[in-house]
Amino acid sequence: MMRELRYDAVVVGAGPAGSVTAWELAKRGVKVLVLEKRQEIGAPKRCAEGINAIGLRQIDLKPDRRWIAQEVSGCVLYSPSGKKLVIRPELGLKGYILERKVFEKYLAAEAIKAGARYLVKTTVIDVIKDGAGAVTGVKADSMGEELTVRAKLVIAADGVDSMTAKRAGLDTVNKLGDYHSGFQYEMAGVKADESMLHLFFGRKVAPKGYAWIFPKGNTMANVGIGILGTESADGSRAKELLDRFIADNPSFFSGASPIEANGGGIPVSAAPKAFVGDGIMAVGDAAQQVNPIHGGGISLAMGAAKIAASVAADAIAAGDTSRGRLKEYESRWYEADGNRMRRLFKLRSFVEKLDDGELEKLAGILDGEDILELMSSTNMGLLKALARKAPTLLPLAKKFLE
């Protein structure tokens, strides 16, 4: 049996990007339907679940005990030789480790209360286009039932494995050199300071990437690794490297065991050239809106969703969902976050070129404040510090940062 529905907008994917888009659209009175292919929103996660306090504030979300596993107030970076560089709590870095399967259902509930509607276990099979190539809806399989959803606008929020954006004609394919291969266990029995994030660097630990411990309280933690796709090969895949990292660090893991396994691709390109087309917008991982230096995507996805929804609601009200009209979302996103991501992309290129000796040198000259300054993408601080303390690295840094 075939069912046909009509909405103003249809969102594909019920992760943070999709649900925040739907929530913001519903708040503006837009009739919106969200399609989630999984039987359960939020699981399995493909993520280390960390978000900074600003990430929640931007969508006016107050931290809620139901979906915050652990609050963190700083970060410890470990050099290849184990030297610690601490971003102390006094520097004001505050963040949370989420329980994403609860968080994502919570966001969906907020969207539904505002008027959005959802379908789960509903896979989009194709996008519908009009004669001129503009997207005008989707065809889906909803628990065995064929479904057609006609809409003025389709929003692809279907993650790194987005088919919707590609079917609509957007080039969102990741490149091996701008895409991390990730693997993670959620573990119990981990011994680590649970008020801090722990990040581990070095060629042997995680080539062109890093390993992490993100504490979730009660000895639980997300223990994972991300390496650049070009470095992945038999014998040094993300899983193999993480198993080795765990075996090599009994001080953290001697009494620990996994309670969940996760994999994932992490876009670190700082967004593709275009992520809108006629009748289509891409948001979140589907639009590669991920911080290229640490691979975090929840906060950026939700920020982008808010901008996308604001542009989409106006476009729908004006009866014009053409690419030209929707491009406002691209320019506003670059202004809000994208330009900063472009600068962090350059920083990523610099860090990737460093061998362990140079990483060690950096760990020796930078302090917590320098690191925070780098994360805010004012790369001038790094150049000054290098000029003063490690002039041999300066030409390389200049090459990639300027």
């Binding site: 790194v160 987005s162 990741n174 490149k175 291969s181 693997f183 994932g264």
Partner: protein, 56 residues
């Protein structure tokens, strides 16, 4: 390409890198469209757990 279902985590990472759109993550099933696959091997290299192999 062959997917080892006992290794695959159904994370969709390989789908995001396939230049031929030959891979699709169904709910808990990774589908390979052999008609589209060009055999470039990017997915084989990328997979975090080594779940994709060339046939034969």
């Amino acid at each position: 390409m062959k997917v080892d279902r006992s290794r695959c985590l159904y994370c969709g990472g390989c789908v995001g890198i396939c230049p031929a759109n030959a891979l699709e993550l169904k709910e808990i099933h990774l589908a390979v469209d052999e008609g589209k696959c060009t055999g470039c091997g990017l997915c084989v290299k990328f997979c975090p757990v080594g779940a994709i192999r060339r046939d034969g």
